[in-house]
């Protein structure tokens, strides 16, 4: 049995940062719209592929990120307005519908990009490694860590310091009462859905540069995101952050110390948390 060194610890933290970006979108949608969006992983992969194509076409990582976020937000718009609105209020139907969409997006991805593995090209400035505390660590992964922190900060400011954020929080608390106060809750739902989708798209490009893109990457990230949100509690931003840290670090510990049990190392503690806090660490009853 090996113990965790700094390098592996950083790997856990950077994976956690990526997971947070993806799962924060997932938890926003789950918290407000009460939809377990099983297409979230597919949106992640779609964002990755689009980002990859945009990066090749423009040579710019930033443009790739923007293109991916915008197109996946539009995909979210189409999904919400084109499909989900016909099954509003039927939770099981919504979940099954998003599962169907996940399959369809998967197959479309396979058609368009085949079964190969792609890596989103990283900008020059983020290539190579930094040396500190006796380790060489890839700059790009440190960038992902910083990005996770920035996304947390921006989302926190959005939710806690803006009127839209207060409306979203009120909607998570009690959508019906908010609507009775004259707020068109559908519009808030839609904005939130698109924001959540854009975060999946962002995750796809950023993750696609160090975890690579391949058919199946969508369900992997989806399973991890589910674990993050279940641990953290639905709709909770701090919950998603803590959940992502736990899952990211447990994943590293699992890979290094118990390679045969890597999944168990994550889902065992998750089950334990659920046994004591069925709504997750930061979850609140509806």
């Amino acid at each position: 049995m090996n113990s965790l060194n700094l390098f592996q610890l950083l790997n856990g933290l950077t994976f956690a940062a990526l997971l947070f970006v993806v799962a924060s979108g997932f938890t926003l949608i789950f918290g407000l719209l009460r939809i377990v969006n099983l297409a979230h992983g597919a949106l992640y992969l779609l964002g990755g592929y689009i980002g990859y194509a945009a990066a090749l076409a423009t040579g710019s990582f930033l443009l790739a990120v923007l293109a991916a976020m915008a197109s996946v937000a539009l995909a979210g718009l189409a999904l919400d307005q084109g499909l989900l609105r016909f099954v509003r209020g039927f939770e099981l139907r919504q979940v099954l519908l998003t599962l169907g969409v996940a399959f369809i997006l998967n197959d479309l991805g396979l058609l368009a990009w085949g079964g190969d593995t792609f890596t989103v090209p990283v900008p020059e400035a983020l290539r190579g490694a930094l040396r500190f505390a006796g380790v060489f660590y890839p700059k790009y992964r440190l960038f992902v860590l910083a990005l996770g922190l920035v996304v947390f900060l921006l989302l926190w400011l959005l939710l806690n310091r803006t009127r839209l954020g207060a409306l979203i929080r009120a909607g998570v608390d009690d959508a019906e009462t908010l609507e009775a106060m004259g707020v068109n809750i559908r519009r808030i739902f839609l904005v939130t859905f698109m924001l959540g989708a854009a975060l999946a798209g962002l995750g796809g490009v950023v993750g696609g540069a160090f975890l690579t893109l391949y058919p199946g990457a969508d369900s992997e990230i989806l399973v991890f995101s589910l674990a993050v949100v279940i641990i953290g509690g639905r709709g909770s931003l701090p919950g998603a952050a803590i959940g992502a840290l736990m899952v990211g670090l447990l994943n590293s510990i699992g890979q290094v110390m118990f390679p045969e049990l890597a999944y168990f190392v994550i889902f065992g503690p998750m089950a334990l948390i659920l046994a004591f806090r069925p709504l997750g660490l930061f979850g609140r009853a509806a």
């Binding site: 998570v172 009690d174 609507e179 004259g182």
Partner: protein, 234 residues
Amino acid sequence: MLEVEGLHSFYGDAHVLHGASLTLPEGEVLALLGRNGMGKTTLIRSIMGLRPPAVRQGSIRWKGEELLGLPAHEIARRRVGIVPQGRRLFPSLTVLEHLTTLKPARATGGWTVAKAFEFFPRLAERKANRGHELSGGERQMLAIARALMTDPALLLMDEPTEGLAPVMVQQVERIVLELRRAGLTILLVEQNLYSALALADRVSILETGRVVHEAAASEAGHDHATLTRFLGVH
């Protein structure tokens, strides 16, 4: 004028309102009385456009316009406000946010945040607190202040004195009277008969989904037979 006519409301197959009707002229207070489970909240929710219940028959006209079929936020935009039973505050929002999310602090017309704090000085002192950190009376004031932020002309109040200590009941009564003086039309659901008689112009009694008795508040207080029969008052 609010005119509710022959309303039939259902929760699934459960038929709760059986042709409830009432009229409420502008500027007046109508107290809706009735024992537990008679359908008072169901009637309020039906008017506000909240679903469930499903309204299968009847009409709800406010200033001549049919409200039935409009989504709740559209009804709110027609200046119908609600103080729901049980307050229904937003646990994640501070006192101030309850008001500013509905009306930006810089807005000027109608009920402003500043005016609400003038009206409810206790809320001003607690503006950074969250709903669950307030006393029962303060919670009720916040629920009322929140409804005022939508500048209602018609206010639906569902048991605003429920669960309050006698001093607070008096405070809420004073507030209702002031709102009435400010020109609001108020449909007030009230279990407390004496509050209702003191505040309302007219009373309607709801019994298993029908309005079975209507009278001026001044007369209803003396009509012991009716009060005993429908409200169990002795």
